[in-house]
Symmetry: C2
């Protein structure tokens, strides 16, 4: 197999363009980096278009026998990699159809302007683990196909439906289908007073500002996690975990 | 006031040495970066030795009137800063006495080999918010005065007692004082079956490997958080939040 060793190669330029949202949108694909994540990808129905590797990685090649493989030099790989310790394997994956059907009796997570990629990835991982049926990302939330987000999900991204959509619309549709919409607000009631339930739509907000004032009045009710120390707030991924696990307890 | 504008200045070299654990230990001090964190520091009993600033920051100077201030050039500041978007103020703080008394009827968090600075910082922030009385860091846990840890705590670090100590000793002393020690293990019982309680010592483990096999048999009992999706595990800071908030519910 030939090896690409020039960073000026056109393929290399195209791959590097996938570091940015604009490039992902234009090319209709995104990068998944590292053997563990690629392995999770092969267990999903997402489509891998090609594999970029620094040398023959028998394990990964065996899992994706039909996928074209390209060998690149260490130096080229460093350019395409978005991590500090590159592990020699990147998959180029087609942008999936991102739609979440809203159905009665299901569990949803709605995210309003989450801006930190690590937070969004950890939230997706947590939501998938807690058994949520789908996630809606409102305007102003970071792109879920950003490399840092993808890595922080640890692969959970490939096992869960996600849609970017106006949260006003999502809240209205949930309420039509009798799914209780639970917002989070410092003025809400203690979450411990909420009974666990089979179906809900939990609305979490921006790291610094919380849920938008325009969304809070549209929920069925709002809740908060009490703070017993001097901290002003919890990290949003931690708060999401506490609420999702509380709401679904039997 | 004079301004330091050479990166070869001896003070600059000393400050930069505080980026490493060795330098912090040798000099007996560490860095706290950013106006928000410095403001949290002034609300605590930790001792600020000096302030490093790019220009006169009236707000911060007013909060710490007795503390010597040094002006440095933008270029020098970038060398001392550990963040991507430096905000022009760093405090040099004395290493505090790090001891946690173990007393009956209190709540403790024990951390075994937490390695990611962001995770440790978020765990400290979460523990402080949940009302924990002290945190013990076992061997192999990242230095809590590492810059990334300090920033991730969002200042909670300054409002909570932390001690680095053998967890075998800590567990033995907790059990002597009738504080139930709760370990986390994939073989444990569902955490939902544990009754909330006034006093506990929760033991969380390494991101990839969990709690050491040598510690698990020493606990009173072990628990786990069920996974309802395909993820293998939760992020350790999220898991800590779920368990701490469950254990203390009234």
């Amino acid at each position: 197999m030939d090896m690409i060793s020039s960073v000026k190669n056109d393929h290399v330029k195209q791959w590097k363009a996938l570091h940015r949202k604009k490039g992902r949108k234009e090319q209709g694909r995104f990068l998944v980096e590292g053997p563990h994540l690629i392995s999770e990808l092969t267990k999903s129905d997402w489509t891998v278009e090609e594999l970029i590797m620094t040398d023959q990685q028998a394990d990964i090649a065996r899992k994706l026998p039909q996928v074209p493989q390209t060998l690149v030099s260490e130096n080229v790989f460093k350019q395409i990699s978005e991590t500090e310790s590159p592990q020699g394997a990147i998959a180029v994956c087609s942008l999936p159809k991102m739609e979440v059907p809203i159905e009665a009796e299901k569990r949803y997570l709605l995210l309003d302007r989450i801006q930190d990629p690590g937070n969004l990835g950890t939230i997706i991982r947590t939501a998938e683990a807690s058994g949520v049926d789908g996630i809606f990302l409102g305007d102003g939330t970071v792109d879920p196909l950003n490399g840092k987000v993808v890595r922080s999900t640890q692969g959970a991204l490939f096992h869960l439906s996600i849609e970017q959509r106006s949260l006003h619309e999502v809240i209205a549709e949930c309420r039509e289908k009798s799914i209780p919409v639970v917002g989070t607000s410092l003025e809400g009631d203690d979450y411990g007073d909420i009974e666990p339930r089979n179906s809900f739509a939990l609305l979490m907000g921006n790291e610094a500002q919380g849920v938008s004032d325009s969304l809070l009045p549209e929920t069925d009710f709002n809740t908060k996690i009490p703070i017993f120390g001097q901290s002003e707030s919890l990290n949003v991924a931690v708060a999401t975990g506490i609420l999702l696990y509380h709401l679904r307890r039997e």
